[in-house]
């Protein structure tokens, strides 16, 4: 087991290093100079040079790469070119929007998908199944930004129940802040819920066909007990795997949803930072996201290996 963990940790570190290098190189190659973006059309050459020197952009690329990586490892994410504040502060501010948003979206999608997937499996082939799967089909097909605009038109413009977007911040209380995340979370959750419901349905249907279910029924257990205690529990593995994968999709989805609802989250930040060539912010966030995703994968790997000893030896391709 220990050997397995060490092996996986080495892979993890190597992946991060490669990601950091790629992101640095891409931002180097990308045409565009942060100083030019900041100073605009009328900037004079000496002003540009002064700003570049101030931002440390006049040093050679390898030197900048090494100092960035060393600072990153020591926890210093640097100062944003455009905002002129520490990047860690920016990320912290944005995380308090994006993290609750992603968690709410996962919560909603689970709460919608698992029951409807199970129901659908229970009533396989009957009208309830057809209706639920029809809606799920629609959910997969509808792009979330368009669904988001429909939500705004209905709840904010026509009914006037919510604001059309924006984020009041947690300073004025938790409820208004979470309230502002409600529509965006629903918009993010629905397509995910649709996928999850379909996976849940087929997984439950598979399990319902297993011999031990027939045995349980033959023992005379009531239908509900068979379904919930024996079938659903064993069928959860597949939807749980999908949920793990969906987390990274959610992070990507926030870029779009945060723009539609003008939420000041991480997705908006990286979107703006790329346009403004705030290189340091882009590099930090990308590496951070890569780190989050591979750490989640790492934990999942470890859990699988724990549960299934066969994986510990051949381990690389989980």
């Amino acid at each position: 087991m220990l050997e397995f963990v060490v092996r996986r940790l080495t892979t993890l570190a190597a992946t991060l290093a490669v990601a950091a290098l790629i992101v640095f190189l891409v931002m180097e190659v990308l045409p565009g100079d942060p100083a030019e973006v900041m100073l605009g059309l009328n900037a004079q050459p000496d002003t540009l040079a002064a700003l570049r020197a101030q931002m440390g952009l006049d040093r050679p690329a390898p030197e900048r790469f090494v100092s960035w990586v060393l600072a990153f490892l020591s926890g210093d994410l640097g100062i944003s070119y455009t905002y002129d504040v520490p990047v860690s502060e920016l990320i912290g501010e944005r995380m308090v929007v994006t993290l609750p948003l992603a968690l709410m979206a996962i919560l909603f999608s689970t709460l919608i998908a698992l029951p409807s997937g199970v129901l659908s499996a229970m009533f396989r082939g009957r009208p309830a199944d057809t209706i639920i799967m029809g809606i799920a089909q629609l959910g997969v097909a509808v792009p979330n930004f368009w669904f988001a605009i429909l939500l705004i038109l209905l709840f904010a413009v026509t009914l006037g129940w919510t604001s059309a977007g924006g984020f009041p911040g947690f300073e004025d209380g938790i409820l208004p802040a979470l309230g502002a995340l409600l529509l965006p979370a629903i918009a993010l959750a629905l397509p995910q819920a649709a996928i999850l419901a379909r996976v849940t349905r087929s997984s439950v249907i598979d399990v319902l066909g297993e011999d031990y279910i027939r045995t349980a029924r033959a023992k005379g257990l009531p239908g509900g007990t068979v379904l919930w205690r024996h079938a659903v529990r064993n069928a959860l593995a597949a939807p749980l795997t999908i949920m793990g994968l969906q987390f990274s999709f959610l992070l990507a989805g926030t870029v779009i949803i945060e723009n539609v609802f003008y939420l000041p989250g991480l997705g908006r930040l990286i979107f703006q930072a790329i346009a403004q060539r705030d290189l340091i912010v882009v590099k930090d966030i990308v590496v951070l996201l890569v780190a989050i995703v591979i750490t989640v994968n790492f934990i999942v790997d470890i859990l699988y290996a724990w549960a299934d000893p066969r994986l510990r030896n051949g381990g690389g391709n989980v």
Binding site: N42, T162, G166
Partner: protein, 491 residues
């Protein structure tokens, strides 16, 4: 069943947070781009000025809603007969928001800082004519110029020339401290910037107690925010196609004003084909301005025939110099040796006027035998490729700085235009102080640019404001980048 319950819960939660309608003395404005920071002396982004200019920071002079130069922190001034020495009398009792007093030492500091070697002022060129600046006493500042500069007082009214204090200059980016009628309150990054009334203001106090600027990058969400009452005013609404909807809505008025944005089809005057004036003139004849305004801007915008704003008193209408005439365009192309066709790159930055206008222009050029290959780029890339290294043939961009005809006199500006005749006129103009002479020279400058067909002159960008009914005292026009709310009030 469960899903139904959750739906009910969403609806219930929604009821608790209905959109806030502003009370009588507060105002919420929508802006399309978030300022990167809030120091107008340290960046070119128009979004900075759109929040803080006049509201938080003030200069020696200020620009009025009609573009006139008005007294600002200088209550009066005299100019010597040779036009070289300006003597400013400063207002008494002015204090910065942190309580420090404003006097001539702050003027020396602010201008000195902008002119310094390590200055990062985006408009450092505005200060270039200054030879020396002195403060004979605390309430007087004397500026001596290297040469007479006709629009010097106007230049002092730019956002980049506002007065800052040595105590707070370094932190203005995140905590702006000025002398204006509003103080900075809070900035929720990515969402909203709040200002509140400065009760210790030296002049007439603002009527609004709180002003909030909400960042709305997306046109559809901006429209929704206006209709749901989240914002009261969108001073410069980005989606002209949605204006009809607001015109029809009795809760709003659509206020179409002028801007300083000359929208042009810039041409690289040194690229192979475009260095030939016949080709440039052929393009001018091929362009149908009204079709571009209708097709790309849904009818808002005023045609221009040179690089000058139509609402300016010295404007000369040159839109008739190259009438839309496809036969003429084809003949000129044939004469230049491109009878069998010509291929040009059309590099388009992100704004919708450029992307949409580019489609229309490409079609118009195709009709006379010029194949324009559309290359969409983002801003940073545009700055590098088009503006800096001039690796382009055609591009579309709006030049939004006020009175910027002088860019044609610059060496190696991205049009790569060089004309001794124009340079002479512009040099005479900079030194001319007599209004009649200035007007004549400005007219001549416009004519030279049109005759040389330097660029395709398209239209003056309109400012399409969507205002909730009842708000008064806002600027309809945009003589300078600003959303001056100092005189705004609700009726």
């Amino acid at each position: 069943m469960k899903t139904k319950l959750f739906a009910a819960a969403f609806l219930a939660a929604g009821l608790g947070m209905s959109g806030q309608v502003a009370a009588k003395d507060t105002l919420t404005l929508g802006i399309g781009l978030e300022p990167p920071h809030l120091d107008p002396t340290g960046g070119a982004a128009a979004a900075i000025d759109e929040v803080v200019y006049q509201n938080v920071f003030e200069g020696l002079t200020r620009i009025g809603p009609d573009g006139a130069v008005l007294p600002g922190l200088a209550k009066s001034w005299t100019v010597s007969d040779d036009g070289l020495t300006y003597s400013f009398k400063l207002r008494d009792g002015v204090r910065f928001h942190d309580g420090t007093a404003f006097d001539s030492a702050d003027v020396l500091f602010s201008i000195g800082r902008a002119m310094a070697e390590d200055s990062t002022n985006a408009q450092k060129g505005l200060f270039e004519p200054i030879a020396k600046i002195e403060a004979p006493d605390a309430a007087t500042v004397t500026i001596t110029l290297k040469r007479p500069t006709g629009h010097f007082l106007f230049n002092l009214g730019w956002g980049d020339v506002v007065m800052v204090a040595p105590e707070s200059a370094d932190t203005n980016k995140t905590k702006p401290v000025g002398t204006g009628p509003f103080t900075f309150d809070r900035w929720s990054k990515g969402a909203e910037i709040r200002l509140k009334r400065n009760d210790a203001y030296w002049g007439a106090a603002a009527k609004l107690s709180k002003v909030s600027f909400k960042v709305m990058p997306d046109a559809a969400s901006s429209a929704a925010a206006l209709m749901s009452g989240d914002i009261d005013v969108f001073p410069n609404f980005g989606a002209p196609e949605l204006l009809e909807q607001f015109r029809a809505d009795p809760r709003f008025e659509v206020v179409v004003g002028t801007t300083e944005g000359e929208t042009i089809l810039s041409m690289n005057n040194t690229s192979k084909a475009l260095s030939d004036i016949r080709v440039r003139r052929a393009i001018a004849h091929a362009i149908d301005r009204q079709a571009i305004i209708d097709g790309a801007m849904f009818g808002s915008g005023t045609p221009i025939g040179s690089h000058f704003a139509p609402h300016h008193p010295a404007y000369v209408d040159l839109t008739g110099m190259y009438p839309h005439d496809m036969a003429k365009a084809k003949a000129l192309l044939a004469e230049a040796g491109y009878a069998s066709g010509l291929k040009l790159r059309l590099t388009l930055p992100p704004p919708s006027y450029a992307r949409r206008g580019g489609e229309v222009i490409a079609a118009q050029l195709a009709a006379v035998g010029i194949e324009a290959e559309i290359i969409p780029v983002e801003w940073a890339q545009w700055l590098k490729q088009v503006f800096k290294t001039t690796d382009y043939d055609l591009t579309i961009v709006s030049h939004t700085e006020p009175f910027d005809i002088g860019i044609y006199a610059r060496d190696s500006y991205y049009f790569n235009y060089k004309s001794e005749r124009f340079n002479q006129i512009y040099a005479d103009l900079t030194e001319a102080v007599d209004p009649a002479k200035r007007k004549a020279l400005i007219g001549e400058a416009q004519k030279v640019l049109a005759e040389d067909s330097v660029n395709g002159f398209l239209f003056e960008l309109a400012q399409n404001g969507v205002w909730k009914k009842g708000i008064k005292g806002l600027w309809a026009n945009r003589p300078i980048q600003a959303n001056d709310v100092t005189a705004a009030y609700w009726e």
